[in-house]
Structures are given as structure tokens and as C-alpha cells.
Point group: C2
Chain length 339, copies 2
DNA sequence: ATTATCCTTGACAGCGCTGTCCATTCAACA
DNA sequence: TGTTGAATGGACAGCGCTGTCAAGGATAAT
């Protein structure tokens, strides 16, 4: 075990006070270039690393960012973590992950954690982005937060998102361009703000193409494989069936794919299937899924950035926010409509 | 923002010294029951939460446990985190996640982090469980660690694992019991210790059933969907093909499934497919995958427990370790061999 | 040259907690 | 009755760092 070396060692080594060492560590102004270099050299020579507990106890920053998630799709969570951590690393921050069971006592899970940890900020993933108790607890404890893809109430706090409506609109148009006129749609989990926006995009595209939106072509799902599977069974059950199904996330699209497989429907010759998210699962199937690439990691990275730079919402101003680009990923699960 | 309330407030409220408060907080002995109750009451009344930075700066414990992972299957990582966090919560610990890019400079990623964070311990997931640089860095910095499913060198440090050989043996026997005599096998990533053990289990079962292990029935994979897909193309390419394929993880099994779908092979009537891990993906397919349920969350939980209770490896003694139970999950992707 | 101003540096006091060490109390024993 | 030791509680010194404040030195303005 290597001996713990502290700021005092560096100060002694470079012949300055610990405060000056602290200055160069924190990139504070008003340090002579020469002094700065000497300190840097000592830091390197001694292989010194500041102790994070001491820093956060003494100062304002904790160098800790939290990610809250609930009942997540594993791929989504992992992407969020990877994206956030990539940013955190550059600034010397670390990531704390905290699953929140929103069916349990949320207050009890969140409040103690915020009090003990005093993180610099937390990233909220859907559906927590819209959970009133979580938001209130955060505000009461004075912990900054950024919401990923929140639903309503976008004025309340900073957020990062993508244009779900536009993406669904584009995907629907892709299908229409392929000649599909009878398209089924599976709505996502009602607690996720994105669900309504994606549905809206679908409806708008159909309207703009003068295509009818038949009520019996729209099914409610829950973002899960099973809900997609069951919705597909209803959609494909009769003889009168759509030529394409657009599921508002990949898991549900895979459910549709499973039903198609079981029914021996050729995808995409007899049925086109589109998903949304571009999770790893989209490629873990054959044919591979046409879907929308959500910039999940980028959104999480942007959220981390905002937190580390100390986002502030001015009184009466709209909160800082960012809308990132999506990408239509056309793979093999969509094709020309059968004539 | 609620005012920060400290141990001094609790001490004043309950009429004892801060040290006594500290004693009851840390469940130290030698505090009268009466005093303990008074302090507890004050803690509750004031809603006091000890500050983790102060605790770790002053004391020996950091209340922080790390999880290192590399290039992970999302489902695996999420399971590990969930399992570890469940245990951590009961003791007031928190989880720090750190992805390690083992193709990059590992030392540079690990050493600074260990020095700044001074975690109480870290959980290593495969293939990091066997990464010599990571292990050395941990030991040099004096940070305890528990390895999940390590390969060799089980004497070096504490670990938690499952009996991969036995599980693969049992799965192979399940297939043999179904009448399969010509079984293909896809080996996992060579950096993962479990790969060799699973392969061994397959070979042992075949041997014990007096079945030949044909060299051209065993393919090397990398635990990825794509590698499973490609291995399956080779295995199923000719007219002489196995009646079952046992892939040593689910992702690869899904690759096999995709090839079977594309070739219009009926699963399981014409081809039985077995996986390993029981990741979420195993159910996100049709037919659902017969697989081995790895106790991933339980292994991570056990690892966290060992870390929090301060595992110690006595000189000359074998390291503390635990072997958890697996479970054969028979679903629809395996069935009777075609006659 | 003199004063005002800025830049650079350091001394020092905590941040909130635990570990060490000492003081007191009290019961049990000689 | 005195003695001993366990049980109980408190005082105090840090842990390693940042924030505050002030001092000294260099530079600019007069």
C-alpha cells in the first residue's frame, strides 16, 4: 500500500504554501506561471491525488454526480452511465448510481441520500424526470438536477431531450414513403413524457399524408417486450391487418417481431416493423430493426456538463436546456409495402 | 433548502456529547440503553443524516463501494448494480460505477481513482476479475476487492462465483435427455474465466454420455450476438448439421436464433437452442430461450457484503469465497431431437 | 518619487465527523 | 469498608482540503 501523500507534501516539495497548491489544483487565477509549473511538477513527481472527501467537506463541490433511474431498460441505463461518466472523468467527477423504486416510498429513498451525499447534482432519467416527489425533494435539499426527456412542465428545471415528435414523424414518413398506408402504432408507457410526443408525431405524419388514423390500429403498450407482443397479437390477429407496425420503443418492436415470427410472417415482405431507441436489442435480432437512434449517451453527457458547470435557472427565465439530434436508422425490418 | 443539521445539533438536542452521538450512530458498545434511545429520538426528530465526507475523512470507512466493468453486456451490468446496491443500502453505503477500458491505459484509469476516492472496496466483474494490472493497482493502493466469476488464480483474492462447469454439464445433459446426440457448442470470450469452465462442462457431459465431441461442432465465439450469428452460420451451413446448439451465453444464442429464423428452421422442432445467463434478452425473443439463470444480482450482493464486513485473507489461508446456486431455466427453444 | 492599485502568496480557521485518551460512575468483590 | 474493574460519557485533536483575510511585492498612475 502506497503511503498517502497529501497537499502538504506537495507544498513542501515545491516550496510554497498549501493554499497555493490548492490554487493551481483548482485552476484559480493569480498564480505566477513559474510557481504553477513548480507545483505541477511536484504533483507529478509525487503522484499526488487530492482526497475527494476532504475537498467536499471543506469546499462547495462534492465531485459527485448522481444518476437516478427506475425500472429501466438495461441498455438505456448503461448508455446513460457511459455518457455521463465520459464527461465526469474529464473534470475529475465521479458517478453515483441510485435506483429508485417509484412504487415504494420515494421520499424515504431520496431524502436521506441527498442529505448524506450532498452531490453536486443529479441526472434524472424517465420516468423519474417527471416524478413530482423526486423533484420536490431535490429542490428542498437544494441539489441541482437535470432531467432527461421530461414530459410536461419543461419550465420547472433544466433538461436535455430530443425531438421525439419529429423523430416519430420522420419514421412514419419513412414507412409512408415505402408505400404503407395502413400502419399500426403502439403507444409507450403513459408515465413517460416521450410516449405522447411520439404518438403525436405518428398522428401528424398520417394526417399530413391524408391517411386515416384508425382507432383500432393504435394500441396502448408499456415499453416492455410483453406489452409489444400482446399489442401485436391484437393488431395482427384478424385477417384485416396493417402492413407495417411502428412501436414506440425497441423492446415492444421486438415483441412485434416475435409475433411475426410465430405467425410465419415474412419481415419485411409481409410486415414492416419499426422501433425507437436503437438499443442493443435492435441488432440482436434478425432481420435487424429499423429504429430511431436516440442520443442517449450524448444526452447524459450534456446533462453532466450542465451540472458540473453549475446550471442556474434565472428567475423568470426559461431553464437552460438542450435538444439533441436523433438519427433514423434504416435496417432490414422495414421494406416496401406489399401491393 | 433545509438547513444543514450536524452531529452537534443532535448532541445538544439529546443532552450528550457529540462522541456519544457518534457511538450510537455507529452501534458501538457501552452506551446505556436509555441514552441510546434519547439520541435516537433526537436523530429522528431533527431528521439528522451524517455527512459522508466528514465520516470518511475522519474515520476509516468511506461508505463507498466501487463496481468496475468493461465492455459489458448491459443486462449483466444492470443486474450487478441492482444486486450490489440492494445490499449497500441496508448499511448506508453507496455505489460508484466506473467503466474501465481495458484496451486503454488501465493503470492510468484506476490508480488516480483509487487515490482520490479511497473506497472501502471494489467489485470486479469479468473480464476485469482476471486483469492483472487492475488487481495489482488495487493491492498497491490497499483497496479491498472481490472478484465475480474469476478464471484462474482463485487463491489470490476473495471471489464470488457459480459453478459454471456444473451448469453447462447440466444443460448439456438436458439436451442429451431430449434425445440430442449431435450438439454444437459455441465457446465464450477467451478472456472470461467462465468460458473455459462452461466448455469443460459440455465436454464432460458428452463424454459421460459416451457421445463424441466432434471438433467441427465446437466454434469459438466472443460472447457477442454477432459472433454467435457467425458461428451458427458455420455450424448450420452444410447439410450435415447438429440437432441442437448450446451457446455459452444468451447473446450468442440469440445470434443462433437469428440464423435459424433466417434459414426458416423451426425452433425447436428442427433445432434446439440453449443459452446461458438468463439475460432479459432471453425472454425478448420467440421462442423464449432455454438458458441457465446466473445469480448475477446475488453474486454482486454477496460481494458487496463481503466488502462491507471487511473481508480479510489470512496469510496462507484460502481467500474467503462463495459459490452460489444456478438454475436451469427450460423454456421453448429446446425440445425433442428430430428422429 | 510617491501614492494607489493590482497581483501573488501565505496564515489560519474551520468543514463534520471519528479515534484516542481520560474522567466519572457504579456494582461487585475482597 | 475499601478496592477494582467494567461501563459510560466527554474533551480534544486531527483527517486533508478550501475559503477568508491580510500581507507583501510589483506595477501603474500621479
Amino acid at each position: 500500500m502506497s503511503a498517502k501523500i497529501t497537499i502538504h507534501d506537495v507544498a513542501r516539495e515545491s516550496g510554497v504554501s498549501i493554499k497555493t497548491v490548492s490554487r493551481v489544483l483548482n485552476r484559480e487565477p493569480n498564480v505566477k506561471a513559474d510557481t504553477r509549473d513548480r507545483v505541477q511538477a511536484a504533483v507529478t513527481a509525487l503522484n499526488y491525488r487530492p482526497n475527494i472527501s476532504a475537498r467536499s467537506l471543506a469546499g462547495a463541490k462534492a465531485y459527485l454526480i448522481g444518476v437516478f433511474f427506475d425500472n429501466p431498460s438495461p441498455g438505456y441505463v448503461t448508455d446513460v452511465q457511459l455518457g455521463a461518466i465520459a464527461q465526469c472523468r474529464r473534470e475529475g467527477y465521479h458517478l453515483i448510481v441510485e435506483p429508485i423504486d417509484s412504487t415504494g416510498d420515494v421520499e424515504e429513498q431520496v431524502a436521506p441520500m441527498l442529505a448524506t451525499l450532498r452531490m453536486d447534482g443529479v441526472i434524472l432519467t424517465p420516468p423519474l424526470s417527471d416524478h413530482p416527489v423526486v423533484l420536490s425533494a431535490l429542490e428542498r435539499e437544494g441539489v441541482a438536477y437535470v432531467r432527461i426527456a421530461p414530459g410536461d412542465d419543461v419550465e420547472r428545471a433544466p433538461w436535455v431531450s430530443m425531438d421525439d415528435r419529429k423523430a416519430a414523424y420522420d419514421m412514419t414518413n419513412h414507412l409512408i414513403g415505402l408505400g404503407h398506408r395502413d400502419i399500426g402504432f403502439i403507444i409507450g408507457h403513459p408515465d413517460h413524457g416521450a410516449s405522447a410526443r411520439r404518438h403525436q408525431g405518428f398522428v401528424d405524419a398520417m394526417r399530413d399524408a391524408d391517411l386515416p388514423v384508425r382507432q383500432d390500429r393504435v394500441e396502448q403498450g408499456w415499453f416492455s417486450f410483453r406489452s409489444g407482443f400482446e399489442a401485436a397479437e391484437r393488431l395482427l390477429g384478424g385477417t384485416d391487418r396493417p402492413t407495417a407496425i411502428f412501436a414506440s420503443n425497441d423492446d415492444m418492436a421486438l415483441g412485434v417481431m416475435a409475433v411475426a415470427n410465430r405467425m410465419r410472417l415474412d419481415v419485411p415482405a409481409q410486415l414492416s416493423i419499426a422501433g425507437f431507441d436503437d438499443t442493443p436489442g435492435a441488432r440482436i435480432t434478425w432481420p435487424q430493426l429499423t429504429t430511431v437512434r436516440q442520443p442517449i449517451a450524448a444526452m447524459a453527457g450534456a446533462a453532466a456538463d450542465m451540472l458540473m458547470s453549475g446550471v442556474h435557472q434565472e428567475e423568470g427565465e426559461p431553464p437552460p436546456s438542450r435538444l439533441l439530434d436523433f438519427e433514423l436508422v434504416v435496417r432490414e425490418s422495414t421494406g416496401k409495402a406489399p401491393n
